[in-house]
C-alpha cells in the first residue's frame, strides 16, 4: 500500500494524483491525475474499458485504490491519516463519508420494492435519522424538482427509464451531497428520453453543484461542462475546456476517438 496523504489540496473538491487500481492482473487505472474545483462540472469521455467507471467508483470507495492520492474536499476516501501512517476506515466511517457524495448509475438501480418517494426517503431516514414526516416532505419537494411530483407513489417498474433516472437523481440529492457522480446516466435511455434527464442535470449544474459526469453526450459536455477529460487505457490523456478539446484535440488518441463518436 503506497497511498499517500493529501495535505495541500484542501480547496479542491476532488484531487487525484497517480491513482492506480488493478483487478487481479488487470491493471485498469494506471496513474490518473485530475482536479475538480468546487461548483465545477467535469465531464469524462473515453472508449469502453478505459477505466471511467472504475475511477468514479474509487471516488466514493466502492473500489479500493491501490496506490496514489485521492481526496474529496481535502479528506482521503476510505482512509485516514494519523501522523505519517494511513489507516483504513471502518465500514461505518466509510458509509458516513459516502453520504456527502451522490452517485447516479447507468442502470438507475432504483430499489424495486419501494415506491419513488420511499426510494428518496430511505437514506435520510436510515442514515441521517430524519423523521419519516420530514423526509417524506423533502422527498416530495425533490420529486417535484425533477418533475415527478405525480409519481411519488409509483413503483420503479411503473416508470419509464427517463423517469426512473430522475427519481435516482432525486434519491441522491436527498442526502444533500456536496459532490455528484454520474456514470453514463443517459446511455440506457431511449433517445427521446435523454433530454429530460440532461435538463435536470443542467439545472443542477446551474445551481452550483460540483459534478463529475461520465458521458457520451458531447452536446452536454460542450454546453454544461466547465472542463473535459479524455481517458484512455487507465490514464488521463487530455484535459481542458470542453470546446477546445472537442474542436482541437491535441493528442492522436483523442482525435481518433472523437472522429468515431462525433
Amino acid at each position: 500500500m503506497t497511498v499517500t496523504g493529501a495535505s495541500a489540496h484542501g480547496t479542491a473538491a476532488v484531487h487525484a494524483r497517480g491513482v492506480h487500481k488493478s483487478f487481479g492482473r488487470l491493471h485498469v487505472l494506471r496513474g490518473v491525475d485530475l482536479e475538480v474545483e468546487p461548483s465545477q462540472v467535469l465531464c469524462i469521455i473515453g472508449p469502453s474499458g478505459s477505466g471511467k467507471s472504475t475511477f468514479l467508483r474509487c471516488i466514493n470507495h466502492l473500489e479500493k485504490v491501490d496506490a496514489g492520492e485521492l481526496s474529496v474536499h481535502g479528506e482521503l476516501v476510505g482512509y485516514e491519516q494519523r501522523g505519517s501512517r494511513l489507516y483504513e476506515l471502518k465500514d461505518r466511517e466509510v458509509a458516513r463519508k459516502r453520504t456527502e457524495i451522490g452517485m447516479v448509475f447507468q442502470r438507475f438501480n432504483l430499489f424495486p420494492h419501494l415506491t419513488a418517494q420511499q426510494n428518496v426517503m430511505l437514506a435520510p431516514v436510515q442514515v441521517k435519522g430524519e423523521s419519516k414526516a420530514t423526509a417524506a416532505e423533502r422527498a416530495r419537494t425533490l420529486l417535484d424538482r425533477v418533475g415527478l411530483a405525480d409519481k411519488a407513489d409509483a413503483y420503479p417498474n411503473q416508470l419509464s427509464g427517463g423517469q426512473q433516472q430522475r427519481v435516482a437523481i432525486a434519491r441522491a440529492l436527498a442526502m444533500q451531497p456536496k459532490l455528484m457522480l454520474f456514470d453514463e446516466p443517459t446511455s440506457a435511455l431511449d433517445p427521446e428520453l435523454v433530454g429530460e434527464v440532461l435538463d435536470v442535470m443542467r439545472d443542477l449544474a446551474a445551481e452550483g453543484m460540483t459534478m463529475i459526469v461520465v458521458t457520451h453526450e458531447m452536446g452536454f459536455a460542450r454546453e454544461a461542462g466547465d472542463a473535459l477529460v479524455f481517458m484512455d487505457a487507465g490514464v488521463v490523456v487530455e484535459a481542458g475546456a470542453p470546446r477546445a478539446v472537442l474542436a482541437n484535440p491535441r493528442h492522436e488518441r483523442t482525435k481518433s476517438f472523437l472522429s468515431k463518436v462525433l
Binding site: S48, N60, L62, D91, R92, A95, R96, R98, T99, I101, G102, M103, F105, Q106, R107, F108, N109, L110, F111, P112, H113, L114, L122, A123, Q126, V127, Y155, P156, N157, Q158, L159, S160, G161, Q163, A168, R171, A172, M175, E184, S187, A188, L189, D190
Partner: protein, 343 residues
C-alpha cells in the same frame, strides 16, 4: 452500455376496447376437445380408485372415523404442528445467519458456515435425531461457562436432553443447513447494483442487507421455504423413532395395542394431508403477496385457471405469468431436490 436496459412501462398495445377506438375483435374461441377427453379419463380413474377403497372392508373406515378425533391422535397432531413451527423458526433464523456468514469477506467465518452446511446436509436427519437423543451417552454432564474457564451452570445430560429437545435440535439444526442455501440463493439473486446504490447513499453493510437485499431476496426465498415447511411437517414423523409422541407415534401406540394398523395409519395420513393442504394454501397467498412490485400480473388462482382453461382461452398463459411461478420453478427446485435426497 452498448445494450439498452429493458424498460418496463413502454409496451405497444392496441387498446381495442377504448371508446372511439377500433372495434373489438369478434372470434369464436378454439374448442379444446382434447382437454375434455383427458379430463374425463382422469375423473374415471379417480372414481375407480375411490370405489375400490370404499368397498374394501379391510380399510375399516368405521375404525378410521372412530380414531380420527381420538384424544391421543389430536394431541399427537398438536405436537407435530408444534415441532414443525419451532424447527422451522430455528431453521430460518439460523439459516439467515449462516447465509450471511457464508457471504462474509472473512474466510474463517465463511468457512465455518460451509462446514456446518456440509455436515448437516451430508448426514441423514434420522441419524442426527438419534445422535441428539443419545448425546447423554457422549457427554453425561453438560455445562455452560467461560470457554476453557470456570463453569457457570451444569446439569445431567439425560435431564436436559429430553426426547423433545432432541427432536427440536435434530430437526431445527438440520433445517438450518437447507435454509442457509435457500437464503444464500435469495441474496445472490439480488442485482449487485442494488447493494452498490444503497452503499453509495451511505448505508452500512448491515443496513443494506436489512433494507435492500433481504426484502428483495424474499421473492426467491419464500416459495422454497413454503416447500420446506410442508416437507418439515412430514419429516417430524421421523421423531417417532426416538419415542416422542407426535402424530405418527400416537397412532403407533394405539395400533400396537389394538392391531388396527391400517385404519390408524389412515387416520394419521388424513391429518397430515389436512395440515399440508392448509400450508399449501398459505404458501400460495404468501407468494402472491411477496411478488408485489416485481411483476404486474399477479398469479391467477386455481379457479381462474380452470375457468380460463375450459372457456377456450389459454389457461396456462394466465397462470404462468405470475411472480411466484418463476420463483417456485427456479429455486423451488432446491426444496424438491432435497426431499428426494434424504427423505
Amino acid at each position: 452500455m452498448k445494450h439498452r436496459a429493458a424498460r418496463p412501462g413502454t409496451h405497444v398495445s392496441a387498446d381495442a376496447s377504448a371508446p372511439g377506438g377500433p372495434a373489438a375483435l369478434e372470434a369464436v374461441p378454439v374448442r379444446h376437445r382434447g382437454r375434455w377427453v383427458a379430463a374425463l379419463a382422469v375423473l374415471l380413474v379417480a372414481a375407480m380408485a375411490a370405489r375400490s377403497m370404499a368397498v374394501n372392508p379391510r380399510f375399516q373406515w368405521d375404525v378410521v372415523g372412530q380414531y380420527l378425533f381420538d384424544r391421543a391422535i389430536l394431541t399427537g397432531l398438536e405436537r407435530t404442528l408444534e415441532l414443525t413451527v419451532i424447527a422451522m423458526v430455528i431453521g430460518v433464523v439460523l439459516g439467515v445467519v449462516l447465509a450471511v456468514m457464508r457471504l462474509s469477506p472473512n474466510p474463517v467465518v465463511a468457512g465455518g458456515s460451509w462446514v456446518y452446511v456440509w455436515f448437516f446436509r451430508g448426514t441423514p436427519v434420522l441419524v442426527q435425531l438419534l445422535f441428539w437423543n443419545f448425546l447423554s451417552a457422549l457427554y453425561p454432564r453438560l455445562s455452560l461457562g467461560v470457554p476453557f474457564g470456570p463453569t457457570l451452570v451444569s446439569g445431567s445430560a439425560t435431564a436436559l436432553i429430553t426426547t423433545w429437545t432432541a427432536a427440536i435440535l435434530g430437526l431445527g439444526l438440520n433445517e438450518a443447513a437447507y435454509m442457509a442455501e435457500i437464503v444464500r440463493a435469495g441474496i445472490l439473486s439480488v442485482d449487485e447494483g442494488q447493494a452498490e446504490a444503497a452503499q453509495a447513499l451511505g448505508l452500512t453493510r448491515l443496513q443494506v442487507l436489512r433494507h435492500i437485499v433481504l426484502p428483495q431476496a424474499m421473492r426467491v426465498i419464500i416459495p422454497p421455504t413454503g416447500n420446506e415447511t410442508i416437507s418439515m411437517l412430514k419429516t417430524t414423523s421421523l421423531v417417532s423413532v426416538i419415542g416422542y409422541a407426535e402424530l405418527l407415534y400416537a397412532a403407533q401406540i394405539i395400533y400396537s395395542r389394538t392391531y388396527q394398523t391400517i385404519p390408524l395409519l389412515i387416520a394419521a395420513a388424513i391429518w397430515y394431508l389436512v395440515a399440508t393442504s392448509v400450508l399449501t394454501v398459505g404458501q400460495y397467498h404468501l407468494e402472491r403477496r411477496f411478488g408485489r412490485g416485481s411483476s404486474r400480473n399477479q398469479a391467477a388462482t386455481m379457479v381462474q385457471r380452470l375457468r380460463a382453461s375450459f372457456a377456450g382461452r389459454n389457461g396456462r398463459g394466465a397462470g404462468a405469468t405470475g411472480s411466484g411461478g418463476a420463483g417456485a420453478g427456479g429455486v423451488g427446485g432446491v426444496g424438491a431436490a432435497r426431499a428426494e435426497e434424504h427423505r
